[in-house]
């Protein structure tokens, strides 16, 4: 995953409001420990991601999310799933 990655960049923009300290976001940035995104905030974030990318993200898949990279991979997977 590179910083030039289109999905990565868009996900990072959506994470802005959860990152008031403007930490540099990397694939390994931990959503809970680094960005303080708890299970409820994660659900809200997922809804924003669904609207932004026009995909559905079943909540069954959200429990396994740990890092920004996991989130980006999930979005990419759902985008591929939509186009198939």
């Amino acid at each position: 995953m590179t910083t030039g990655d289109h999905v990565f960049e868009q996900v990072c923009r959506l994470l802005d409001k959860y990152n008031p300290e403007r930490r540099p976001l990397r694939a390994e940035t931990d959503l809970g420990a680094d960005l303080n995104i708890d299970s409820v905030a994660a659900m809200d974030l997922i809804m924003e991601i669904e609207d932004h990318f026009d995909v559905d993200v079943p909540i069954n898949l959200v429990a396994d999310l740990r890092t920004v990279g996991d989130l980006v991979e999930l979005v990419r997977h759902q985008l591929e799933d939509r186009s198939n």
Binding site: S39, V40, M43, I46, M47, D54, D56, P58, I59, N60
Partner: protein
């Protein structure tokens, strides 16, 4: 590592709450005096957070039926219906619910929580998709998870968002089940079920409505919000609880689907738990008859709901929804909410403290629920004590 270390952060938060006053999650009612009064910490306290909407917990006929059933049939059933037998009382209550709801079939469950679990597990499977309102109760989330279905949330009370998601899911999953509630228990807002019915028809989905907080409260016959909006015939599956307007403990699911009773053999929350007790069956049946025959109860409830809503609005508090039997006061932050809740309890008013993550949108709430058994004087007194606490803590400015 200690096995309970995973809850350490919650434990710290709980300790912080304890430093601020009484434990809001373990309020002890030393003596319940009536549907609206209890002794709490040595003080007679107005109960404004019990969900006892029709005040039937002390109804003499319900109490007498429960006592007689315990004497006649014993204190418990000691097992599940599939393994240990169905009492005639179970079937009679199911038939009474089916008649009341004008449904082909009804199944009773041991708690309202299990009713949602049992219904969702029985209706949806791993090849199906459940679309649930994002503000759904924990029992609905848990039932969805247990079903193994793919679960997609839609924005709270937003039929357009549901429509958009169903369109995106076209061709995915064998069946699609939409799950909403009639009256949402935290904010007291009502679902636009009529609009949800239009969406479900457009997409060939099934609609499940949990009327836990609206059964006995909304609709000409008290069947719930779907009846009040004239669309109860369009709802495929309905669930509810005995623990609100019916004044007992238990739950039900009902449907016109000819195969609905198959849930008795494939829904684990129904199959692998002890069935409801004889006294529960008996008191609930009498409470159901009372709801069917006494519309005055609902009128009194709504009069009180409007009275409380008006009273708290007049103080300048920020309320979350139009008047309903659930009146939620929005506070600026957790500190204000906890302080206000403690001051109210000290002044003899019991309401529910509701904090994130148990609330929608991270709100901090003082949640009140109204009963038909409240007197207008009790509602006025509660508003007066709210006003004193609001003044003392300057809640107007922060609300």
């Amino acid at each position: 590592m200690d096995i309970l270390d995973k809850h350490a952060a919650l434990a710290v938060r709980h300790e912080e709450l304890l430093r601020l006053g009484v434990d809001p999650f373990a309020v002890r009612l030393d003596k319940v005096l009536s549907p609206t009064l209890a002794e709490v910490r040595g003080r007679e306290t107005i109960l404004l957070g019990t969900n006892n909407y029709l005040g039937l917990t002390f109804d003499p006929a319900c109490v007498a039926a429960a006592a007689e059933a315990a004497r006649t049939h014993g204190t418990g059933t000691t097992g599940s219906r599939i393994a240990n037998g169905t009492y005639a009382l179970h079937r009679e209550l199911e038939e009474a619910f089916a008649r009341f709801l004008d449904r082909r079939s009804c199944i009773v469950f041991t708690t309202g929580y299990q009713a949602n679990l049992g219904m969702l597990v029985g209706l949806a499977g791993p090849r199906d998709v459940i679309l649930l309102d994002s503000d759904s109760h924990a029992s609905i989330y848990d039932g969805c998870r247990l079903s193994g279905a793919t679960v997609v949330r839609f924005r709270h009370n937003d039929p357009e968002d549901l429509d958009r998601r169903l369109a995106r899911l076209e061709g995915k999953g064998e069946c699609k089940l939409i799950v909403v509630e009639g009256l949402y228990s935290m904010l007291g807002d009502v679902a636009p079920i009529r609009e949800f019915v239009e969406v479900k028809k457009r997409h060939g989905a099934w609609l499940f409505v949990d009327e836990a907080h609206s059964f006995g409260v909304f609709g000409e016959h008290g069947r719930g919000v779907a009846e009040a909006q004239g669309v109860d015939r369009e709802v495929d599956f309905v669930a509810g609880t005995f623990s609100k307007s019916l004044g007992a403990v238990g739950g039900f699911g009902a449907s016109d689907h000819p195969g609905f009773d198959r849930l008795r053999f494939c829904s684990r929350p129904y199959m692998f738990t002890a069935s409801p007790s004889p006294s529960t069956m008996a008191s609930t049946r009498v409470a159901l008859e009372r709801i069917a025959s006494d519309a005055e109860l609902r009128r009194r409830l709504w009069d009180n709901a409007h009275r409380l809503h008006r009273g708290l609005s007049a103080i300048g508090l920020s309320l979350c929804a139009p008047a309903s039997p659930v009146v939620a006061v929005r506070l600026a932050d957790e500190g204000s909410a906890v302080a206000a809740w403690n001051r109210l309890l000290e002044s003899g008013i019991y309401v529910n403290l509701a904090l994130p993550p148990g609330t929608p949108g991270g709100l901090c709430l003082l949640r009140c629920s109204v009963s038909a058994a409240h007197t207008p004087a009790q509602i006025d007194e509660a508003c007066a004590r709210f006003a004193r606490v609001a003044e003392e803590l300057d809640l107007h400015a922060t609300a």
